[in-house]
Each structure stands twice: as C-alpha cells, then as structure tokens.
Symmetry: D5
Subunit: 124 residues, 10 copies
C-alpha cells in the first residue's frame, strides 16, 4: 500500500448528533466495497458494515461512500483494511463505540469475514 | 423541517392497557414509511418498528398509521426522524420501555438502520 | 365481547405429564387463528405460539385447537385476546412457565405481534 | 406402547471419544423419524436433533439410525417419545450434557416441538 | 489413518497480525472439504468454519486451503478430523482463541455437525 | 351448503375498465380465505388468487373482500367452492378470461390446490 | 413386494365431480410418504404429488391418505412405486389426465425424482 | 386526479439507443412507487417494472425516477395508473415493445398486480 | 486425463425398466461430485443432474454413485467431463432421451454450468 | 470511453470445443463486474451472465475474468457495455448462439437488467 492514510481520512465528513443526550445505534451497510489483493494484483469484493453509538457527531453518508471508494485501486489485505477503516472511523467520528465488519466474496473456494471493535472486545 | 412537532403528536390516540398488572411486549411493524431528504429533496423510504412494554395505555393502531403519514412530505434526516418518533411515542404513550428501529432502502449503494431505546441503552 | 370466559376454558383438556421429574419445553404453533375486530367487525388472522414448561399436566392438542376455534366469531382486540389466552392456559394447565405469542397479518399496512409471559417478564 | 424399552437401547453402539480431554459439541439431525399416534393409530412424522458433549464415548451413527427406526410402528405420544429417547441416550452414552429436540409435522393445523435436556434445564 | 500429522501442519503458513494491539475476530468458511470414511471407504463432504482471535500471527489463506486438501484421500471420522484440525491450528497459529466447526452432508438420512473450541468450552 | 348463491354474488361491485381498448391482466391475491368442511365441521384455510383480463368492467376490491368473507361459516368442499367462485366472478364481471386458484393449508398431512379457468382449459 | 395390488386400490374412495362440464386441475401434495427399499430393507421417505383433471369423479382426500399409508412397510423401488400409484389412480379415478411425481430424500448423497403421466408424455 | 397528463410526460428524457441494429431487452425495477387512493385518500405503495425493446431511443434513468415521483401525491386507482404509465412510456420512448407491471402492497388483506403490454397481448 | 474411458463405463449397472410401455422421467441429483482441474491441479466441486426417459433399462443408483466417484482424482475440464458423462450414460443405459447438467462452485469469482442433451438440442 | 475496443478483445483466450459434433450449452456467471458511470464518475456494480452454444471453440475462463476486469475504470453506460461485451464475445468465440445479461445494483432506488442475444431475438 503506497497511499497516505491521513489523506483518506480527510474525505470523511461529519454532522452534529441530533440526540447526543442518549446512547443510540446507527448501522451503515456498504455492499459495494472493492480493493486489490497486494499479493496477486487481483480485485477483492466485499461488504463493509458499520455499527456505532455516536457521541458528539455522526458520519455523513455520502462522504462515507467516497471514503470507501478510495480503496478501489489500493493494494491491501483483508485483515489490514478492516483495522485501518476502524482506525480512520474512530479518529474522525470519535464514537462512544463502533464495530466494523468486512464480509468478502469467495477466493479459492474459501470466504472470510473480519470483525473489529472499539473499544476492543475482550479475548474471552 | 418546518412543521410543528406538537401538532404531530396530537394525532396519536391511546386506549387502556387491558393487562396493566403484568409486563408484556407489543410490536408494530410499519413497512410503508416515507419522508424527504432535506439535503437533496428526494424521498426516503423505510420501515419503522416499535417494540414496547405498555404501562397504563396502549397506542391505537390507526392513529399510529396516521401519525407516520404526517412525515410523507417532511424534510428530515434518518437520525433525527428516528429520535423524534421515539420522543413523540414516549411523550404520548408513556410506556415502561420502548425501542424504535428505522430500516431504510439503499441510497448511493449504502443502506442504514437507526435504533433508539427508552430508557436509554448503556454505551457498553 | 359477549361470551363467557369460563365457558371457553372448559374446552381445554389435559393429560398427565410423562416426565414431571424434569423441566422440559413444549411448543405448539397454531397458524390458523382468526377472531373479529370489535371496532370494524372485520376478521383478524394470526398465528398463536405457546411455549411452556409443564408441571403435573400437559395440554391435549385437539382440545387446544377446539379452544382456539371458539374465538372465530368473537369480537376482541389483539392485546386483550393474547392476555386472555395466557390467563386461560395458566388457569387450566398450571405450567411452571409459559409464553404466548400472537403474530397478526397486516392491517392498514402495519402488522403487529404481542408477547405475554407467565410468570411475568421484568420491565427491563 | 407394548415394546420393551431395554430392547431398544441395546441397539445403540458407541465408540471411544477421540478427544476426552476437552469439552466439545456433537450434533446429529435425523429428519426421517416416524412413529404412530396411540390415540388415532395414524403415523406421526418429525425430526429428532441430538446436541451433546461426549464424555468417554460417542454414539455410532448407523446404530443411532437403527435405534430411531425401531419407533416406526410404535404407538407413543410426542412428549413421551422425546423423554424416552433422552433417557435411552443418557443411559447408553453417558454424555456430559445432551439436548434432544423433536420437531413434528402439522396435525389438525398445529405443529409442535419438544425440547428435553440433561442435566435438566432450570424452570427459569 | 496412516499419514503423519506433523507433515500436515507443515503446510500451514502464517503472516504477522497487522493489529496485535487489539482483540479482533477472523472467520474463514471452507465449504469444499472432503475426506474418506475409514469404515466404508466412501468419501465424506462438509464445510469447515474457523473463527479465531489472532495473537501475534494470522493464518495465510492459500496455505489453509492446501492444508485442508491434504485430507482429500485420508480415512478419518468426523469427530477425529475436527479435533485434529483444531490441534493443528492451535499448534501453528497460536491464537488467543479459536473455534472449529465441521458441518457434514447427510449420510443414511442423518447429518452431523461437530464444534470444538480452544480454550476448551465449559461442560455447562 | 344452505346459503342462496345469488345472494353471495350480489355483494360483488364493479367499476368501468379504464382501458377497455386493450387486453391487460389484473391479479388479486387473497390469503385470508376461510370456509368450513361440510364433512367434519372443521374450518378450512386457504389463499384465493384471481387472474383476469377485464372486458367492460373491473371488480371493486373491497366488495371482493366482503364477498369472500361470506364463505366464513359456509360448509363447502375445496373443489366446489373454487368452481362456485369462478362462476360468480364470470357472472358478475364478465371478463375476457379469468383463472381462479385456491391453495389450502395442510389437512391430515396433505395439502391441495384447485385451478379453474374461463374459458375452460383444454384437457390436454 | 408380496402384497396384492388390487387390495391397495380398494382403499381409494371417490365422490362426484362438482363441475364435470369443464376441465379444471386438482393438485394434492403428500409429503409424508414412506416405503421400504427391497434391496437394503431400509425405509425410504418422499413426497408424492398428484396433478389431475377429473372426469366424472374426484378422489376423496382421506382415502388417498390411507391408500398411501399402505406402502409404509412395503418393499418397492422408486420407479416401480411411482408407476404403480399412477396405475392405481387411473384405474379408480379415471381422470381426463393425471401426473404423479415422487420426490425422494437423499440416499448415498444422491436424491431422485420420478415423474409419470397419463396419457403418456411423448418421448420428445 | 387533477394533474395535466402531458405535464408528466414532459419529465421523461431519452438518449440514443447504442445498438439500434438489434432487438435487445432493458428492464427497470422501481420498488419505491407511491400514489394516493382517490377513494380513501390513503397512500398506496408498489413496485413498477418496465421491460422493453428500444427502437431509436432509450429512457434516461434519472428522468424515469423523477417522472414516477410525480405520482407521489396524485389520486389514481391501480388499474388507471398502470395504463397511464404505459401510455406515457409509449408516447415518449416509442419502443418496439414494452410491458409495465405494478405490484402493490396489501390493502384489507388483499394484494394486487396489474400487467399492461404494448403492443397489446391477445385475449387468449 | 490418463484413465481408460471404457473402464469407467463398466461400473454402471442397470435394471429392467418396470414400465417400458410408457415414457416417464427419472431425475438423479448428485451434489457431491469432485474432479481435478488439469491446468492447476486443484480440485473442482460440482453437482451433476441427470434427467432421462428410460427405454428398456434404468441405471442402478449405487453404481451411478460409484461411477461418479471415479472422477475424484481425474484431471478433466468442465466441458469435457460433462460431455463424457453423457456419452457414458447413453452408451450403457440407452435411454429414449437424457440431459446431463453440471453446476460448478465458483473459481476466481466466476461460476459455470454446462448442459448437454441426447438426442442433441437444436442450435436455435 | 477512451479505451481501444480491439485491445480489450485481445485478452480473450479460447480452446477447442471438446464436443463440436453436438449443440450444448455453457453458462458463466460473473458476479464481480464493475465499471464507471460516464455521467457521474461513480462506480457501477453488476453481474454478467453468458449463456452460449459453442461452435469450434470455447472461451477460456481465466481470460474471460481478465477481460471483464478491463472495464474496472472504464466510463460506459449499462446499455452500451452489455452490447459491447456481446460484440466482443461474438467476434472472438464465434458461438452458434450466445446471450449476455447484465444485472446492476440499485442506483437512485431503481435497478436495471439488460439482455442482448446473438443471433438477434425477434421483436415479438
Ligand atoms: Ca444493531
Ligand atoms: Ca448490527
Ligand atoms: Ca420481541
Ligand atoms: Ca422484537
Ligand atoms: Ca421457543
Ligand atoms: Ca449446537
Ligand atoms: Ca425453544
Ligand atoms: Ca463469528
Ligand atoms: Ca399472472
Ligand atoms: Ca398446476
Ligand atoms: Ca402442478
Ligand atoms: Ca426479461
Ligand atoms: Ca422480465
Ligand atoms: Ca425434470
Ligand atoms: Ca440454461
Ligand atoms: Ca441460462
């Protein structure tokens, strides 16, 4: 991966949480994600699901879409891209909590899902 | 949004809970909700689900339908309308607890759900 | 509703629990329930699901079917009929615990479910 | 029912648990179960699901199939046969824990499931 | 089974966990598993699902596929192969936790699933 | 069956076909049909589907619903009620063609469908 | 197979076609069929579907169920039993046309369907 | 309905068929259609499906969406709106052939579909 | 592919058609097929479906299973193996007609089906 | 679109039809297609399905995948890309017949399919 991470984050826009006085949950399902396998150079396809409890701000949907499109020609592994998306989301949106799941189409007869949470899930 | 919120709440009608001596659960699924995106002026479409434990009164179904129809030409964002419906429901029906979920059809290849509860869910 | 509740309960027949020494669960799904809306006079259609842990006796299936058919021409609201069925079941079968769920077909574009439990669920 | 229960149990064969040092779960789904209703003489049809944590031994699959076929012409009620299968399984396989579920096809417009566990589930 | 277990494990390749500072979950679904029943000599077919929290390393997908293909002509029972795959995975990947599930196609009208976890699940 | 057939037909209302200059197809799905088995006195439940090409008039939906409700306490067999509904529809709506299908819930482990068309389908 | 075929047919009862003046279609789905494999002695399970255009008479449902139950302990192959059921149906009900389909649960990882029609389908 | 039909048609935009030398098929599924019942004043919800073979021009998607939105507060019956949409489509797009289907959500326990084609389907 | 084709065919066993006087259809679904890609050496997985009208003989199921297992370690392309299976079936079973379909699991994000018929389908 | 069409076609590789003496059907489902909307610059996502009867040659799967990936950053409309893929396929593979279908994910609440055939379908 040769892109500058901070440049990706800059795309994310936010707006004021309309109900910061309560904890509530927002889910965004993004079934049109694609990036490139750094080993084979072949495209990967997947769905990214965000589930979060906003604090002071919420993520703006169109900017989230534009952010995800930045990975279209980016070479990056499943595990790395999912952790990176979580890190970017936490850095910009500063939610009370967030879970990022990536669900990938089959490669070589196997298909994978990655689930990352902030604050971190316990190991048990 | 330029409508008067209290005017919306007035539409909701209630009837006496037939079993106030026990906690029990009522669910109403409303798959024909539509409002208008205040940014684009385009209609949004979704399902609203109410899950509640009534206290002294229950919401009357036809009035719930008429209440939801008031949003048909209202400009309001996903997060705001879901919180507003919860606030209206709590103000009029005064349930022991209630959850409002909104599930929206895709826009720009992404689809979103919002889940709000009273009393408020904890952040963990 | 002008029928005599005790008359309905009398239809329910029971038999000895074949394993009273242990707690186990029995579910009966009854997808052919119909009653009448007391407001509009129109028929309502739904599924009634019983989930119970028997104590000394179990409910006999054919009598449960005949009991539910007694509501065919009875005018009664969703919330009232679900609570009434629970009360009748508890009175006759005296289970260790029981849940009655009613799931109704759509009316006016909305569909509802009611869930009642004995002993009562907590409000949280 | 006029068959000798111990005769049924004798059909079950076992083999050594290949990993007795750890708790792990085995599920067997048996969708081709049939017995006879002792009241009507009509055949009943259902699925039996075993979920167990083996101790020293595991049940051999072909013998489990032959065991279940012994009920083909046996007159026995839903609740009784499910408890009896659990008792036979516990007596022969002596698992750390086991759940037996029977799921029956509709009769008279109703369909039933029975769930029995060892050690016994609590009533709450 | 006449193959050398250590020889199988050698096929598994690993790479550095890109986010060892947090607990996160990786799932791999492998629907094209086949081995041979040691009793009948007939092929068995199933799906293997891995769910794990990596520690210092992650398993490389292509090597996982090649590892599973090694069982193609191996005679081994359901319960044994599932425990063996868990043991191999733990030995090579040393995850914080891992669950291996095998889901088998029907044989003789019955179908089975085996679920093994590390660290071991409790018996209750 | 002791009701007067002509009395049933009188419930059906019609309105002018808005496009009589062309052949087009109208389908009405009515999943809440119930009548009574004349042999057992037990209720039957089914779905009635109308597929027709209107000529000068179309059937009014609310009257179609009220018409079907007239069978609620009527004793009549599957084959007879389907043919009778077709005859009533043809007599009142006089369509260019129409098919009536009834799909019944299981009785005694069997479920049935009846399909009647006007003008009559050929036997081959 | 050592039963007397004519004895089986005798179970089928009929009633007068309520609409012999037109061709219409009747379907009966019978998902609880079981017979015995004459080669292995093991039970087979399947669904039998009848689709027919009645002439002067229709088959009575309860007798159809009792007829199918006669095969419960009968040793007979898939192809033979499907053809025999067609022959029995044609002999007793004398329909204008009839199709009998049998759909069997998997054996040895393969599952089969047999479709027989009267009058006979052409080979192309 | 008090809107001017020609005003609606004007919204539809077209572009040159990129392959007018051959017959090919274009389908557009529009699941977010809503209009108003002229009798009850209540909103109706449905899906509109266009299937057409273009001649010289194709319909532009965004204009098709804007065209359908014009019916949002229009009072018009199922049968009339489906025929009107076909007429508008034929007038503006002049396709070699086109089918318009409308599939409506349930009202009063019944749900309807309307299918209109150009050139007209035959009555048999 | 280095196996001798005639050797494969020899595995297929047949039995006398129990109803050679009529044309009827037999389907066998075989979801556990596996062969090897001659280019990559990787296993392929698929379902083979046979649909045929028998003439004097029918294929015996267990031999069909054993026949298909012979391809387990055979290197052969999708198109070739499907045509070869058809040729073998026609040579041994000599049916009035037969269709062989192979449906393959995804490779490289694409999945394929091959359909071959005897007598040959026309090109239009 | 500023790419050179002949350059795209050059990627497609072929191999000899293993059964040119008969007409048979090959289907390839390619669910991971993506191109770019020339109007908005936003990515489009879809599935491409090829159904063809080969003549002297068949298309090689890996080259078909590489060919489709060439559209990843190409600006081209739904109707144009589907016709272009058909033209390329016919030019290189020269099949007896072929159908290309493209099925696109929703944009603005509408989703589209395009179906193109060679030789051309008739307009009726
Ligand atoms: Ca959630
Ligand atoms: Ca979620
Ligand atoms: Ca609930
Ligand atoms: Ca709920
Ligand atoms: Ca339950
Ligand atoms: Ca389990
Ligand atoms: Ca349960
Ligand atoms: Ca998981
Ligand atoms: Ca139709
Ligand atoms: Ca039919
Ligand atoms: Ca049929
Ligand atoms: Ca089409
Ligand atoms: Ca279509
Ligand atoms: Ca077939
Ligand atoms: Ca095909
Ligand atoms: Ca096809």
């Amino acid at each position: 991966m040769n892109s500058n991470p901070s440049e990706f984050r800059d795309i994310l826009e936010v707006f004021d949480n309309p109900a910061p006085q309560r904890n509530f949950t927002i889910e965004h399902h993004c079934p049109e994600f694609t990036s490139v396998c750094p080993k084979t150079g072949q495209p990967d396809y997947g769905t990214i699901v965000f589930t979060y409890v906003p604090d002071k701000i919420c993520v703006e949907l169109k900017s989230l879409k534009m952010y995800l499109q930045r990975f279209r020609n980016e070479g990056i592994f499943y595990e790395a891209v999912t952790n990176r998306i979580l890190d970017d989301f936490v850095a910009v949106v500063q939610p009370r909590r967030v879970k990022v799941e990536s669900r990938w189409t089959p490669r070589g007869g196997l298909n994978s899902n990655i689930i990352v949470e902030y604050p971190e899930e316990s190991s048990k």
